[in-house]
């Protein structure tokens, strides 16, 4: 039974290489492949309305951003309170091109994958710059340094004439092999584009975590002095963690700019930074798939509470003003409850579920 990679239930590794493999069993790999196929097929079978497609696209973009935040905060232990600013750097890189060469320039409309990549690199650059204090600062001090970046970013954009002082800078529709992506297919097109990018980045991170650079992140998080003693460079590791987080955020920002066909400062505020942090916590800090659970949970919760608020507003007297309180209350409550009762996030529920299904019906 031990060698059966379809049904293995225990730890039968005989080499480090085996332990590092991406999928533990063939069943895992098959299940994942089926899941991926479903992700690509379902919109064609059950086409959702634009509203829900927009919500789903948003979840995927948030997942890209939280993937980066999880690298810095979850794996490297560096609290970042300015993640939305890095997302903003990516978005404003696209806006920079729109302002410089025109929002309908072929570079923006046809070479959009390159724009997304460049936005990622811009995010990485600023991530590394902001990460530099990490060479000297730790814990709360570092958190405040990232908060400062958030404030500087917001202030700079708000006062730069070049970026229209934070007003919306438009970006034209993109082109694909089939021609211009029309309004009708806009959200579906970006669903597939974001999904492909997310899968690629997910595999990239998964593979990174299998390398010594990935293990460095975890070692520095757990004890940077011990990591130093073992020959790692904690300072550089922290800077590259920030750069990587910035890259993911930059990509997410460019995707946001293309999805919304414009960039405005409102989408990259401190509140958004806190929301990304909440997504990472609710999903599960330091877990790869927590980066997917968190955004889905928070965005769906927001939509759910919005519907409840609307219903409550129509039933209850206006003087109770319940709708004003319900959204922030539910958001805060979810964070507190997760921190108290499930600090490992939804990812832990997934782990328990998987262990249960792997063992059931007690094959060992």
């Amino acid at each position: 039974m031990a060698s059966n990679r379809w049904l293995t239930t225990g730890n039968y590794f005989t080499s480090y290489k085996q332990e590092q493999r991406i999928f533990l069993t063939h069943l895992d790999r098959t299940g994942f492949l089926i899941f991926l196929i479903l992700l690509f097929v379902w919109p064609l079978v059950f086409p959702p309305s634009n509203k829900y497609m927009l919500v789903i696209d948003n979840i995927l973009i948030a997942a890209v951003a939280v993937l980066g935040l999880n690298i810095a905060t979850g794996f490297a232990g560096l609290i970042s309170i300015g993640h939305a600013a890095f997302v903003g750097v990516g978005a404003y890189t696209a806006a920079f091109f729109a302002k410089t060469i025109g929002d309908s320039h072929v570079f923006l409309t046809h070479a959009w994958p390159l724009v997304i990549l460049l936005s990622g690199f811009a995010g990485a650059f600023f991530g590394a710059v902001v990460g530099l204090p990490a060479l000297r600062l730790k814990h709360l001090y570092l958190a405040i340094a990232t908060l400062s970046f958030q404030m500087i970013f917001t202030w700079t954009i708000n006062f730069m004439d070049f970026f229209d002082q934070g007003q919306t800078i438009p970006i034209a529709r993109v082109f694909w092999f089939t021609g211009e992506v029309s309004r009708k297919e806009h959200y579906l097109f970006w669903y597939y584009a974001i999904l492909v990018i997310l899968i690629l980045l997910g595999f990239m991170i998964r593979n990174l975590l299998r390398t010594r650079y990935g293990r460095c992140l975890v070692a520095v998080r757990d004890n940077d002095r011990a990591a130093d003693a073992m020959g790692m460079h904690p300072g550089l590791t922290k800077v590259y963690a920030f750069a990587l987080a910035g890259f993911m955020a930059g990509v997410a920002g460019a995707l946001h700019a293309y999805l919304y066909r414009g960039v405005g400062i409102e989408s990259f505020s401190l509140h958004e930074s806190i929301t990304y942090l909440a997504m990472a916590i609710v999903g599960g800090l330091g877990t790869l798939h927590g980066s997917f659970w968190g955004p889905a949970a928070i965005k769906m919760l927001d939509l759910f509470v919005e519907n409840i608020s609307e219903y409550a507003g129509s039933v209850l007297p206006a003087t109770m003003n319940l709708t004003t309180a319900l959204r922030p209350l539910s958001f805060g409550l979810v964070i507190v409850l997760f921190l108290m009762f499930e600090p490992r996030g939804i990812a832990n529920w997934w782990r328990i579920f998987r262990s249960y299904t792997r063992l059931w019906p007690f094959r060992y």
Partner: protein, 409 residues
């Protein structure tokens, strides 16, 4: 047995006839409209009564059968002043098949401008930002833009300044597109010959004390402060000026500061926030106020009473603002129906464009008629100046149209 069968058939036939008749009674059409705005969150003090105004007027249209058997169904959603949420709401409204859209903030109006163009849907926002109209065919401002309002205030300053020399003014603005919009246009008006000097433009934060700024204004010889923001920072400003003894007791009092403001700076909420410090605050808008009774305000108060609104909402100029936007939308439908046109986005858009000359929409909630055309997307061109006298806003002079806002175009 046979008799029972006949009885059964006759009952079924009668039921079918009754149902078909009752169906024809309710055979009217439903026109879907929508509004997304900040009912909660930032600027909800304006958005909340605005939403009530829209809701109540459409209820009134339906209850009084102003469209015959047809009814207006207006979905109102709270976006908490977040552009992302507004976009999501708008997509949902489009899925529902709306023919007319009411939007709210400057940020979201600018962000959705391209969508409005592509969807060819007429839009009336609650934002009077002149920039909304740039490269746009489908956005229609209900009243004169913030720029026109600030220029109107500047013209009043220039015309009524006492003492010698050029009147010196400062602009106290909101740190956003909403606040910054008019600055450039007022500066253009000054360059075009308006007899006024803008000494300083200040973007406010969330300051609780403006002493240093006010002293600086005085030291620079500033006599007038034109505000383009929301009520709470203006209230703080007025209270500080009063505390320091710097507030003018009458317009243009020498050595003191006279405060003036555009639409969202004033109204009853300002008086509630600033108390006696609001006295002599000059304010401009195109709406009629309940402190100056007339047919429009009577209708407004009756509407608020009919739908159970409290005094605060009933007397709010933002409630008037919502009613007026709904009135324009409903009027387009009424006019299109009168012509026998099918109610579509296109026909309603054409009705808006035709709203001028003899077709201008004269309504009592504003101080002038609503006029639109291919080249004019600002509804009411007239403004009324008000000032706080004994705790209420009272008219100052007659409605006017700012001259320089046309000159600088």
């Amino acid at each position: 047995m046979k008799q029972n069968k006949i009885k059964f058939i006759s009952i079924m036939v009668s039921a079918a006839v009754i149902i078909s008749f009752s169906c024809s009674v309710h055979a009217g059409q439903t026109y879907k409209l929508a509004l997304s705005l900040a009912i909660t969150g930032p600027t909800s003090d304006a958005g909340n009564p605005y939403a009530k105004g829209v809701e109540d007027y459409f209820k009134y249209v339906n209850d009084n059968k102003l469209l015959g058997d047809d009814i207006i169904e207006c979905t109102i959603r709270d976006d908490q002043y977040k552009t992302d949420v507004t976009k999501r709401n708008f997509e949902e409204f489009l899925d529902n098949g709306i023919v007319f859209y009411l939007n709210y903030s400057t940020g979201s109006t600018l962000a959705l401008k391209q969508d409005f163009e592509e969807e060819k849907i007429p839009v009336i926002p609650a934002s009077f930002h002149a920039g909304n109209l740039v490269d746009s065919n489908y956005i229609f401002l209900p009243i004169a833009s913030y720029s026109a309002q600030c220029i109107g205030l500047a013209e009043y300053v220039a015309a009524h300044h006492k003492g010698g020399g050029i009147p010196k003014a400062a602009m106290f603005i909101h740190p956003s597109a909403f606040g910054r919009g008019p600055v450039e246009d007022v500066e253009k008006a000054v360059k075009a010959g308006l007899n006024m000097e803008i000494v300083e433009v200040t973007e406010h934060g969330k300051d609780l004390d403006n002493t240093a700024m006010l002293q600086r204004f005085i030291s620079k010889g500033v006599q007038y402060v034109i505000t383009q923001t929301i009520q709470s920072p203006v209230a703080t400003l007025l209270k500080d000026a009063n505390r320091l003894g710097l507030a003018a007791k009458s317009f243009g009092e020498e050595g003191k500061l006279t405060f003036l403001g555009a639409h969202y700076t004033g109204g009853n909420d300002l008086i509630a926030l600033a108390g006696p410090a609001a006295e002599n605050f000059f304010w401009t808008t195109s709406y009629t106020l309940t402190s100056e009774p007339g047919p429009g305000t009577d209708m407004q108060l009756a509407l608020a009473k009919k739908y159970g609104r409290d005094d605060k909402a009933a007397n709010s100029h933002n409630y008037t603002n919502g009613i007026m936007a709904a009135q324009v939308a409903a009027e387009c439908i009424i006019r299109a129906k009168a012509k026998g046109s099918k109610i579509t986005r296109e026909t309603l858009y054409n009705e808006l464009l035709a709203m001028n000359g003899d077709n201008a929409f004269k309504l009592d909630t504003t101080v002038g008629p609503v006029t639109y055309s291919k080249t004019d997307h600002e509804g009411v061109d007239n403004l009324q100046l008000y000032s706080v006298q004994n705790g209420v806003f009272k008219s100052v002079g007659k409605p006017f149209s700012p001259e320089y806002s046309k000159k600088i175009k």
